[in-house]
């Protein structure tokens, strides 16, 4: 096997969970203000951080070999490309 197995401690997992709850509270709070479009971006940014935490720790991505991170990037990039391509049409019609 390429790598020795990494076991995450309960403490670390709980810490991540607490962080996720805090971020959830934060996003609710942020979106209570009238920030216009920034509200969308702020909420999405926080959601991205949250999903980053879930992927890195709950899903062990941080401890997997680089290949996994590369293909994850490929997948997300593809999705971004699909959305972006559509917007070339939708925004300029």
């Amino acid at each position: 096997m390429e790598h020795t197995e990494h076991i995450l401690s309960y403490g670390k997992l709980t810490a991540v969970w607490v962080a996720l709850l805090v971020l959830t509270a934060a996003t609710i709070m942020v979106t209570r203000f009238e920030l216009g479009v920034w509200k969308v971006w702020a909420a999405l940014a926080i959601a991205s951080v949250k999903s980053g935490l879930v992927i890195a720790f709950f899903m062990h991505m941080k401890y997997e070999p680089r290949l996994f991170r590369i293909i994850l990037f490929v997948a997300l990039f593809t999705l971004a490309g699909f959305i972006g391509g559509t917007f070339f049409d939708v925004l300029y019609r």
Binding site: Y10, V16, K39, V90
Partner: protein, 199 residues
């Protein structure tokens, strides 16, 4: 690589590839969401305010907690703590049930107000509103189906753990099922702000 020995790395790679297809499946819905949000920001706003933030927030906490249990169960099984693993898995499944129950409450409240796909109220309302609720039902419905599938998979792995087929040496199935569960959580992390918060 010999045939007989189990390739847990390969199994995880396969699982991740499968998770990508799930991400893109939901991605398709998010494409529609983003397009229609830019087209009908006002109607989406009105629609979003009719969703119940308390239900949404509670479900977020429930799902995050279930994810925590799922992640802990992997640690537990690797440390050989069988009873703890089973307990944590039950915790996850329990959270899944709570989630579904809350979802049920939420949906039936909406149905009560005459808001459901193709309802006369939506047909009479402004175009964007019907789109918003259709997307809402589509996304949460699809997500709900994934919760159900995840719950069934969790139960199945719990049985395997109970029987000792999954143990501290061979547990990649459990890992993969929890990966699937985390994906369900990930999707919700985006659904929550997009439907309940930013509008």
């Amino acid at each position: 690589m010999s045939h007989a020995e189990k390739d847990s790395f390969g199994a995880k790679l396969g699982m991740w590839l499968f998770l990508f297809t799930e991400m893109l499946l939901f991605g398709g819905v998010f494409i529609l969401y983003s397009v229609y949000l830019t087209r009908y920001p006002k109607e989406f706003g009105l629609g979003g305010h009719q969703l119940d933030l308390v239900f949404g927030a509670t479900n977020t906490v429930v799902l995050l907690t279930s994810s925590l249990f799922a992640a802990m169960s992997v640690t537990a099984i690797k440390r050989g703590a069988k009873q703890l693993t089973l307990g944590l898995l039950s915790g996850t499944i329990g959270c899944a049930l709570i989630f579904l129950f809350i979802k049920y409450l939420e949906w039936s409240a909406k149905f009560h107000h005459g808001i459901y796909p193709n309802s006369p109220k939506l047909i009479a309302g402004p175009p964007g509103e019907s789109i918003f609720f259709s997307l809402y039902y589509l996304t949460t419905g699809l997500h709900g189906i994934h919760v159900i599938i995840g719950g069934i998979l969790m139960t199945w792995t719990a049985v395997m753990v109970q029987k000792g087929m999954l143990n501290s040496a061979d547990n990649v199935t459990l890992e993969n099922v929890t990966l699937y569960w985390h994906l369900v959580d990930l999707v919700w992390i985006f659904i929550f702000p997009l439907y309940y918060l930013i509008l």
